[in-house]
C-alpha cells in the first residue's frame, strides 16, 4: 500500500535507488505471531539491502 509512496519519497530525497523491502498491508490489528512471521520473511532481504553496494545512480 505504501511502497509506491516510499519510492517517490526516496526519489524526492535524492535516493532513487534506495532498496525497499515490503510486507503486506496491514501491519496493525493482526496477531503478534503474524507480525513475527512477516519479520522472518523479510529478514534476509533486509540484511542483503543493508550490506549490498548502492545501485550506480546513487553513487556519489
Amino acid at each position: 500500500m505504501f511502497e509506491a509512496f516510499g519510492r517517490k519519497k526516496a526519489r524526492a530525497l535524492g535516493f532513487a535507488g534506495l532498496p525497499i523491502v515490503s510486507i503486506p498491508h496491514p501491519i496493525t490489528g493482526i496477531p503478534l505471531d503474524t507480525v513475527h512471521a512477516h519479520a522472518d520473511e523479510i529478514l534476509e532481504s533486509v540484511a542483503e539491502s543493508l550490506t549490498q553496494s548502492p545501485p550506480p545512480e546513487d553513487e556519489g
Binding site: 500500500m1 505504501f2 509506491a4 509512496f5 517517490k8 519519497k9 524526492a12 530525497l13
Partner: protein, 351 residues
C-alpha cells in the same frame, strides 16, 4: 517581474482547462482559474515578497514552497491577490514541528488542514466568521482553503489515492478556512491568548478530523451547555482518546452568551471540559485501551486507570468563538499527534 514557472499553452475553454489540470493531477475535480502570468505576478506583488523566496520544502515530496509557487496555486484556486499573506503565513505555520506535517500529509486518517484567521484581516479580506462559515457562499473562505489544499497537494506532493493515503478523505480537504467571531465574545480571541496583540492579524492552522455538532437548545445554564460539549468529546475510538494531543471546541455565540452570563471564562471552561470530557475506560475495546496506554506517557504510569483525558493537558483544548445564531457549538477532534500553530501575519490590514 521575472517568474520561473514553466508556461503551458491551454485552450481558453474552461472545460479543456479543467481536463488539462486534472490529467496532470493538479486539481481537486472542480473548475479552476487559469494561473496566467499576469494573475500570478499580481499575487506575488500582493505578498510583499520576491517570487523566488522559499518558505520551506513541504513533505512528502519536499517541493519548494516559493512565493511564486504559492501564488500559482492561489491563482488557480480563485483567490484575490490580497489573500496571499494568509496563505504565506499558513505555510510558515505548518513547518512548526509540533504540527507534525509529515504525519498528517500521508496518513490513512481523515485529516483536513483548518485555517482560522484572527484580527483585522478578517474584515479587510471578507472572511466569514458567522453564519455558515464552514459552508459555501464566501469567496475568501472558499478560495483560501482551496488554495492551501492545492499547495499541500501540488508543492508538497500529497496526491489523493497515491501519496495521500486517507481511507475516507475529509470534506474539508476541498476547502477549510474560517474567521474567529471575535465580536461575539468578551473574551480575548485565540491569537491574543497566545501572546499577540488584538490589533495583529494572525492565522492558526489545525490538523482536524471531521466535526461533531453539539445541539443543546434545552439547557438554561452554562454548565448544562458545557456538559453537552464534554459528552461530545468522549469518543473512545477517536485519535484524541488514543493519542491525546489537542482538541478544538468552537463555541457558538448563543452558547457563549449563556456562559458569559453565568460567569464562565476560557480557563474555567477548559478545566471543566478536561475533567468532564474524559472517556471512561469501560467504553474502550480492551486492545485499543492498551494501545492508548502504550502511546501515552500520562496513562502508562496509572495502574487503576478509570478514565482517559482526550487531550494532553488542560491547555490543549483549543477554544474559540465562531458561527452565527443558534444553540449550537462544535467539537472538532484532531489527528491527535499534532498541535495547532498560531502565527502573526507579517502584513497590516485595516478592518
Amino acid at each position: 517581474m521575472k517568474l520561473a514557472s514553466t508556461r503551458h499553452e491551454v485552450a481558453e475553454s474552461p472545460l479543456e482547462l479543467l481536463e488539462y489540470v486534472m490529467e496532470r493531477g493538479w486539481g481537486d475535480g472542480l473548475p479552476v482559474i487559469p494561473p496566467t502570468e499576469e494573475r500570478v505576478a499580481a499575487m506575488v506583488e500582493a505578498s510583499g515578497r520576491p517570487p523566488e523566496e522559499s518558505r520551506g520544502r513541504i513533505p512528502h515530496l519536499f517541493g519548494d514552497a516559493t512565493i511564486e509557487k504559492i501564488a500559482v496555486n492561489a491563482a488557480m484556486a480563485g483567490c484575490e491577490p490580497e489573500y496571499m499573506p494568509v496563505l504565506v503565513t499558513a505555510v510558515d505555520a505548518i513547518f512548526d514541528p509540533i504540527y507534525n506535517l509529515p504525519g498528517v500529509q500521508g496518513t490513512t486518517n481523515c485529516i483536513a488542514q483548518l485555517i482560522v484567521v484572527h484580527g483585522p484581516a478578517r474584515g479587510a479580506l471578507g472572511i466569514n466568521c458567522r453564519e455558515n462559515l464552514f459552508g459555501q457562499g464566501w469567496r475568501a473562505n472558499a478560495t483560501i482553503g482551496r488554495a492551501f489544499r492545492f499547495i499541500l497537494q501540488n508543492i508538497g506532493g500529497a496526491k489523493p489515492g497515491d501519496t495521500d493515503r486517507s481511507t475516507f478523505g475529509h470534506q474539508g480537504k476541498f476547502s477549510s478556512c474560517i474567521g474567529e467571531n471575535e465580536e461575539a465574545s468578551p473574551w480575548p480571541p485565540l491569537h491574543v491568548e497566545r501572546g499577540l496583540e488584538r490589533s495583529d492579524s494572525a492565522v492558526t492552522v489545525i490538523a482536524v478530523d471531521p466535526h461533531i455538532m453539539v445541539n443543546d437548545a434545552a439547557s438554561t445554564d452554562g454548565e448544562g451547555v458545557l456538559q453537552s460539549i464534554a459528552s461530545s468529546m468522549m469518543q473512545a475510538g477517536s485519535n484524541n482518546a488514543l493519542f491525546g494531543g489537542e482538541m478544538v471546541v468552537v463555541l457558538g455565540p448563543e452558547h457563549v452568551d449563556m456562559l458569559v452570563r453565568d460567569g464562565w471564562d476560557p480557563p474555567r471552561i477548559r478545566a471543566f471540559l478536561y475533567e468532564r470530557g474524559r472517556v471512561p475506560t469501560f467504553l474502550f475495546a480492551p486492545a485499543n485501551l492498551e494501545r492508548a496506554r502504550g502511546r501515552r506517557d500520562d496513562l502508562m504510569a496509572q495502574e487503576d486507570l478509570q478514565s482517559v483525558p482526550v487531550v494532553d493537558d488542560v491547555d490543549s483544548i483549543c477554544l474559540f468563538v465562531a458561527g452565527g445564531l443558534g444553540k449550537h457549538s462544535l467539537v472538532i477532534p484532531t489527528f491527535g499527534n499534532t498541535h495547532s500553530v498560531t502565527r502573526k501575519m507579517d502584513f497590516s490590514f485595516t478592518d
